[in-house]
């Protein structure tokens, strides 16, 4: 019993320490102050500052547009790549897999610098396209990694049966193969989204100066003088959004579980 209480308190203590910085910002996002520690009465002023700040709003929009575009491109390329890898000869499979692992194991700064050098070498002007390429390089290996196991679990005979029954290869691909690996594709898409949303280094190295994202605008603010209260409001909103998604996911998972249990 004592052991159990100790274990629980350790888990909650570390959790509290882990969330302390975020909770501090959340608390001080509800008062109009520049310095953390002085409470000037309850106020929504930081939220007004946030929504009135055009730069942050643009950065927020850019971040979402970039993540969605990179997510979609990565998912398409990754699906194509994973299916291709799965049906390649052993040697081609090993070679492509090895190349695909490079961005996963490499330090992000090396990936970022190498891309920046590639663009400099060929005199390619930095634009949304170069940034998109950077984000696809960063995320596509993870899409491939989440689809390949689904291909291995799949029943290959169904595809062959579709061909025997007269489906063209591309028809069989779309209506037989793709549906079987859809969970992997979705997982890969979500992973690509989260990696893109969180990225700073590759973004900073491959973007054009005019394109700001949440990461780059916050980095500038943190380095210069610390977060102003508009950023505290932003942190609070992001925190609540993530928490909300988690709670919904948790409820959905337990509903699914209950449904399965009722079935058997």
């Amino acid at each position: 019993m004592v052991k159990k209480i100790l274990a629980k308190s350790y888990l909650w203590l570390i959790l509290l320490l882990l969330y302390a910085p975020i909770l501090l910002l959340v608390i001080f996002s509800f008062t109009d102050t520049t310095v953390i520690g002085t409470w000037n009465g309850f106020s929504f002023k930081p939220y007004q500052n946030l929504f009135g700040n055009k730069d942050i709003m643009t950065a927020l929009k850019n971040t979402v547009v970039l993540a969605l575009t990179a997510g979609v491109v990565s998912t398409i390329l990754g699906t194509v790549g994973a299916i291709g890898i799965f049906y390649s000869s052993r040697r081609a499979k090993n070679a492509i897999n090895a190349m695909s692992q490079i961005p996963v194991v490499n330090a992000e700064i090396v990936t970022a610098l190498s891309l920046r050098i590639l663009f400099a070498f060929f005199n390619i002007e930095l634009s949304f396209l170069t940034l998109l390429i950077g984000h696809v390089v960063l995320t596509v290996p993870f899409v491939v990694l989440s689809i390949l196991p689904k291909l291995q679990q799949m029943d290959n005979n169904i595809y062959e049966a579709a061909l025997d029954l007269g489906a063209t290869p591309s028809r069989a691909l779309w209506s037989v193969l793709i549906p079987q690996i859809t969970p992997g594709i979705l997982a890969g898409f979500i992973l690509a989204l989260t990696l893109s949303l969180d990225d700073y280094i590759v973004t900073a190295y491959t973007r054009s100066d005019s394109f700001v994202t949440i990461s780059t605008i916050v980095e500038g603010a943190v380095r210069i003088r610390g977060l102003t209260n508009a950023y505290r409001a932003l942190t609070t909103l992001i925190f609540l959004a993530v928490l909300g998604i988690l709670i919904v996911m948790n409820i959905m998972a337990s509903k699914k579980k209950a449904k399965l249990e009722r079935k058997f």
Binding site: S100, V105, L227, L234, F239
Partner: protein, 264 residues
């Protein structure tokens, strides 16, 4: 007329071309820039400069020390957390694990800014304790990345072996050293791979928290990027690649199939 027949393995070509253009070619360019001068002639002066300059060697040593300290701290804090989370005796809810992983989904630059505010509030800043502040920021950032792979291996751990060890007379300490640690080694290795090298490259944290006093190898690469000194940056990137290779070699024997990718 030659008609190209659609084969699923042909899809791999698209992905392979993308990887060669944006992963392999950029890395080759890093080697090209590191060992040539502005006129395109082969030179080793960057290597000589790096290994004869006391400040760059000092920064390399500091990077390795901070990387190692962060890895050890994350393991010391995260191992018990993962152990308790995976043990149904102490924790039955999936929500607790999700809460531990959730900070990963809040923008990492924002989290670093939040950590800076918290530390400033309790009197630790880049001005008075740059290394402490940087290290705390690193632990905050990387702890979830340690807990997740450790949790994954601990869930697969065979509990009956632990009971067998106890029945055969092993005390808790012996069980831990001789059984639990070896069984969870793949998770420990994944954790090391996820923390050690990335710590050295995350210059955002040392920039924000170290008050411009902590120079990791990532900071130096970033400085040469800011001044478009591609050659110097490239040579330091090669040092990073060597360190990554070294970590893999040192951990290879323990771990054959698990890597950073296995986390997902």
């Amino acid at each position: 007329m030659l008609k190209l027949k659609f084969r699923r393995k042909h899809l791999a070509i698209i992905y392979a071309v993308f990887l060669i253009a944006f992963v392999v070619a950029p890395l080759l360019l890093i080697f090209y820039y590191a060992f040539t001068n502005d006129a395109g002639q082969i030179t080793f002066h960057r290597m000589v400069n790096f290994f004869t300059d006391s400040s760059s060697l000092n920064d390399l040593l500091v990077s390795i020390l901070i990387g190692a300290a962060n890895t050890v701290l994350c393991l010391l804090i995260g191992y018990p957390v993962a152990y308790l989370l995976a043990n149904p005796k102490y924790n039955k809810s999936k929500m607790m694990l999700l809460l531990y992983v959730m900070p990963m989904w809040i923008n990492f630059v924002l989290r670093t800014g939040a950590t800076k505010d918290l530390l400033y509030w309790i009197g630790i800043s880049g001005n008075n304790r740059p290394y402490t502040a940087t290290l705390i920021g690193m632990v905050y950032n990387y702890l979830p990345f340690v807990i997740l792979p450790l949790y994954a291996t601990m869930q697969k751990m065979d509990q009956s072996q632990v009971e067998a060890a106890r029945d055969l007379g092993a005390n808790p300490f012996q069980t831990f050293i001789k059984l639990i640690i070896p069984m969870t080694m793949p998770g420990i290795v994944s954790a090391i791979l996820m923390v050690f090298v990335p710590t050295m490259s995350s210059f955002v944290i040392s920039n924000a928290l170290g008050g411009a006093k902590v120079n990791l190898i990532g900071n130096n690469i970033n400085t040469s990027f800011n001044y478009s000194r591609w050659g110097d940056g490239s040579f330091m990137a090669i040092i990073m690649l060597l360190l990554i290779g070294l970590t893999f070699l040192l951990t290879k024997n323990v771990n054959k199939e698990e890597g950073r990718g296995s986390l997902w």
